[in-house]
Amino acid sequence: MRSLSRRGFLGVGGSGVAGVALAACGTSVETRDSGHDTELLDAALSAETTVQATAAAAAQTPTEAQAEHELIEAIASASKARAEKLRTLGEGASGGQGSSEGDTMADLARASADAIAAYRPAAGQLSTADLRTTAITYLAQSAAELAGMRGLLGEDPAPQPFVTGGAEKPFAEPTTTTTNTTTTESTSTPTGG
């Protein structure tokens, strides 16, 4: 399994012809091995325990909005389960010390976006398909939770076609295209989506 640095990838993505030329020159590559597993799982666990702690704090904050309270409780429960699973996968990982980033739903939404940003590289780089399945599943679950919170916060629940969780641009940058069914104008502007 081969891998390029992100900068290298974007260079290829920005100019396909240049990418073919680079390939012929044998650009250096990384290996998709287990060497980064601990680091990736540690980052995911750290982000998830922050979600868990922030959800617990938010759940203690009085609110008259029943829907908000129910969603925070649901996220707290789901986050706890994910963190417990990550601990079993990441033996040797030092994550799990996350602390609350606040006690509001907006704080929890930011923590959730950070968790998505942690799961994203893990989904591609973890060394086994089983580990990558866990990462992509948890990214999707976190995205669902973030969408639910955004809706209650009056924000766009699904602002971007490629969910990165942070400032990182997606690999596949959408362009304006016209098809026989739809005219699409998408943007790759990162918004934590």
Partner: protein, 210 residues
């Protein structure tokens, strides 16, 4: 396979994914076609089915947005979600094109089931499923029925990415698929709420859909 050839093939795959930013992806075709291999065929198979699912979703969102009785606020969401599905399809189509494979044509409407016949890389089972989805979409006119169909399609897409993306021989395809899966999960939350779920129940349903 030699290290140099391995490096080149991975670079070509990455060029394929990044090709969404290109305006003339056809320039890559001849060089990439020469690099096709069994592993590339595996990527093609994944991308072809993903493209088919996304194109069905585009059509379904368009149909739901245009349906008589769809509330204006929901209509705007459906239009935007359809555009996002099209962005996914465009990324996969660009990848296929740059690898030297033909992407499946998008269906013109729900009766256009022929687009999934005899497509290289699309199994009979997958073709039948995609055709079945179009058959099911054909004739749906009521907003609630269309929303329920969209939930079915989004759940199928999410399952596809969760099941198939982790095993791909490409880090970037797996990562981009994760980004797309996140978007499908977000769509499901909105759709389930439009069908009456509370936010918490909508999130739980989306989280368990994969």
């Amino acid at each position: 396979m030699s290290e140099g050839v391995d490096n080149r093939r991975e670079l070509l795959r990455r060029a394929a994914l990044g090709a969404g930013a290109l305006t003339a992806t056809g320039l890559l075709g001849p060089a990439l076609a020469a690099a096709q291999s069994t592993d590339d065929d595996d990527l093609r198979d994944y991308l072809v089915e993903a493209t088919g699912l996304e194109q069905v979703a585009v059509l379904a969102y368009q149909t739901a947005a245009d349906a008589k009785g769809t509330e204006p606020v929901l209509r705007r969401s459906l239009q935007r979600f359809g555009a996002q599905e099209q962005a996914h399809a465009d990324a996969w189509r660009s990848a296929l094109d740059s690898l030297g494979f033909d992407p499946p044509d998008p269906p013109d409407d729900a009766t256009d089931t022929g687009v999934f016949e005899d497509v290289d890389g699309l199994s009979d089972e997958a073709a039948n499923e995609l055709t079945g989805l179009l058959d099911k979409l054909d004739g749906l006119t009521k907003p609630e029925a269309l929303l329920r169909f969209l939930v079915q399609v989004e759940e199928r897409e999410l399952r596809y990415y969760l099941d198939e993306a982790p095993g791909l021989d490409s880090e970037d395809l797996s990562t981009t698929s994760a980004e797309v899966a996140g978007c499908q999960a977000e769509h499901l939350v909105v759709l389930n709420q439009a069908l009456g779920d509370s936010p918490a129940d909508a999130v739980k349903a989306a989280s368990s859909a994969g």
